[in-house]
């Protein structure tokens, strides 16, 4: 039996029924990574010995009845911007060379407490700034669905590890679409939860008011199970909501669910195949009993400039902590303290990160603050308000995730503004703090996956998961697998 193609819950069941040991499944996963990852570069770090050790410990706790989670013993991996105790954590940046945190991010801690076995740390755009996973200091990650295609980003490694069956599920983070767009490009399922649903403690900050950790996986059930483990109040994150972990009750029923489609999202710039697949998905949901209706949300036009002003401003402040003194990369040659700061930062950050820090410093600088930063926060209020109005009428908003399918390597790297414009369907959701999930809904004429995005009001994860679950019960796009390039076995 090929263990790797199981879903996370199927794997957990085999472990629970003692049909396979945690060590066996972990060993198989590590072997698989070794065979495939030279072709995909999804991992920055593989925790070979640590994972095998953890597997033994988890097995004991399953055997003595302390671990009862349906995902106990299931191997997983997390994006490399989440702190992992004693394990290299780089945010795919040179500036965090050698950084080994002395604590776990809360989301990682909760998975480990539930018996998750950490296979390693996943590649990403440097500091989560990018939509292609090409800005990583550790080289790009490759999409398994097409030759020389990007996996999306910034959680590209997290998406590819699932799409190639290297890990049963992964964690990503989403500041402006970084979970959803790679899910769409790689044909997997994932959710950006409501802001504050999952603790950000131990997540290396990019834009704190927008960042949110979320699960990525093979099915809605898997993703829901992971979210029920990692969500819930954490005293270590003052923006985490004071409520219990989200519990899901999945049933195949969308009858009477009101789903709105913003017409602005289907205009200029949207690839014809993507448009067709997403509208087919809407028809499918309609045939299953949902009520589909078009509506207008003209304010969405302002989402991208607003997002980039807010995100860059927060990034310029958050990334000031990387100074060559406390951790990570320090320049070998310097004249004085100021020179040490300048050189460590200028040599340690990649160009896209430098650009965003500098734009952030600009929009916050005196003389420009009101025209850019303050203005953006006002427009953010307008965007939030228009979502609030939409959710008076609808249970969910249906849209494409990205205007295209997976791009060719290098296509947008030289034109940052063009790359930013690709975030058109995702960033507004972060500005409004809303939950939003992506499920595969078909393929384009090149055989590349298309993802359907469903967005709901704050804390409506259960509603979104139910719509997505129902859709997956009636379709099989999420079960399709790319043909993997494996190294020849010797």
């Amino acid at each position: 039996m090929d263990l790797s193609t199981l879903t996370a819950l199927e794997a957990g069941k085999l472990i629970k029924n003692k049909e396979i040991s945690v060590a066996e499944i972990t060993k198989a996963a590590l072997d698989n990574i070794e065979k495939t990852d030279k072709n995909y570069n999804a991992f920055v770090t593989v925790c070979h010995d640590e994972a095998l050790k953890q597997a033994e410990e988890v097995q004991k706790k399953i055997d003595d009845g302390t671990l009862t989670s349906p995902l106990a013993g299931v191997p997983m991996a997390v994006k490399d911007n989440m702190c992992t105790k004693g394990i290299l954590t780089t945010a795919s940046s040179k500036i965090l060379t050698g950084f080994k945190p002395f604590y776990n991010a809360t989301a990682v801690e909760r998975l480990e407490k539930a018996g998750g076995v950490l296979l390693g740390k996943l590649n990403m755009d440097e500091f989560a700034m990018g939509s292609t996973t090409e800005t990583s200091y550790y080289g790009p990650t490759f999409n398994p669905w097409g030759e020389n295609r990007v996996p999306g980003g910034s959680s590209g490694g997290s998406a590819v590890a699932v799409a190639t069956d290297q890990a049963y599920y992964t964690l990503g983070s989403d500041t402006g679409g970084s979970i959803r767009q790679p899910c769409s490009f790689c044909g997997i399922t994932g959710i950006k939860p409501t802001y504050g649903a999952v603790s950000r403690y131990g997540l290396l900050a990019y834009a704190s008011s927008l960042d949110q950790i979320g699960p990525m996986g093979k099915t809605v059930e898997d993703v829901a199970e992971v979210l029920s483990i990692i969500s819930g109040h954490d005293p270590k994150d003052s923006t985490s909501f004071n409520q219990e972990a989200i519990k899901f009750n999945l049933e195949n029923n969308v009858k009477g669910k009101r789903i709105g489609i913003p017409v602005e999202y289907f205009g200029k710039g949207l690839d014809a195949d993507v448009k067709a697949r997403v509208l087919e998905a809407a028809k499918k949901l309609e045939s299953m009993g949902a009520v589909i209706e078009e509506f207008n949300m003209p304010e969405l036009e302002y989402a991208i400039p607003t997002y980039y002003i807010v995100a860059c401003a927060e990034a310029s402040s958050n990334l000031s902590r990387y100074d060559g003194v406390k951790y990570g990369y320090c320049t070998p040659k310097f004249d004085d303290l100021s020179d040490l700061y300048y050189k460590s930062r200028s040599e340690g950050f990649g160009m896209e990160v430098k650009r965003r820090i500098m734009i952030g410093a600009f929009v916050l600088s005196s003389g420009y603050y009101d025209a850019y930063y303050k203005k953006a926060l006002q427009v953010k209020a307008i965007i939030k308000n228009s979502f609030d109005k939409a959710f008076e009428k609808y249970d969910a908003i249906l849209s494409p995730t990205a205007p295209t399918t997976a791009l060719k390597m290098g296509e947008n790297l030289s034109d940052p503004l063009k790359m930013y414009l690709g975030d058109i369907y995702t960033v507004s959701v972060n500005l409004a703090g809303l939950p939003s999930m992506v499920v595969p809904c078909g393929f384009d004429s090149n055989g590349l996956p298309v993802g359907l995005q469903l967005t709901g009001k704050a804390f409506s994860e259960n509603t979104l998961m139910n719509i997505a679950y129902s859709y997956q019960q009636e379709t099989d796009f999420h079960l399709k697998k790319p043909v993997l390039k494996k190294e020849m076995e010797v």
Partner: protein, 95 residues
């Protein structure tokens, strides 16, 4: 062209970043393009609208003032590029 050489130097100073000569021209071009695009916000009327920093109302979060163990010095210094036994080491800042 908001971002000229003077502005690049100024924000570089604010951000403690110095661009190489070969990075500078393209950075200026890209940033001007991006900031021009950000200017589309001028089309939308925001008079009378309060700036919103968080999507949901956030309140101060208080906890009891209890004595608890804090992060140890060893842990904090674990990743320091240069350190003495009890502190981060930096070049001399005054004579």
């Amino acid at each position: 062209m908001v971002i000229d050489d003077k502005m690049i130097d100024y924000i570089g100073e604010l951000a403690r970043l110095k661009l190489q000569d070969n990075e500078r021209e393209s950075a200026k071009n890209e940033m001007n393009k991006i900031i021009d695009y950000m200017d589309t916000l001028n089309k939308i009327d925001t008079s009378g609208i309060e700036a919103m920093s968080h999507a949901f109302p956030v309140k101060n979060v208080f906890r009891k003032d209890e004595v608890k163990p804090s992060i140890s010095r060893e842990d904090l210094l674990l990743n320091a590029p240069d350190k003495s036994e009890e502190a981060f080491k930096v070049p001399k800042t005054f004579d």
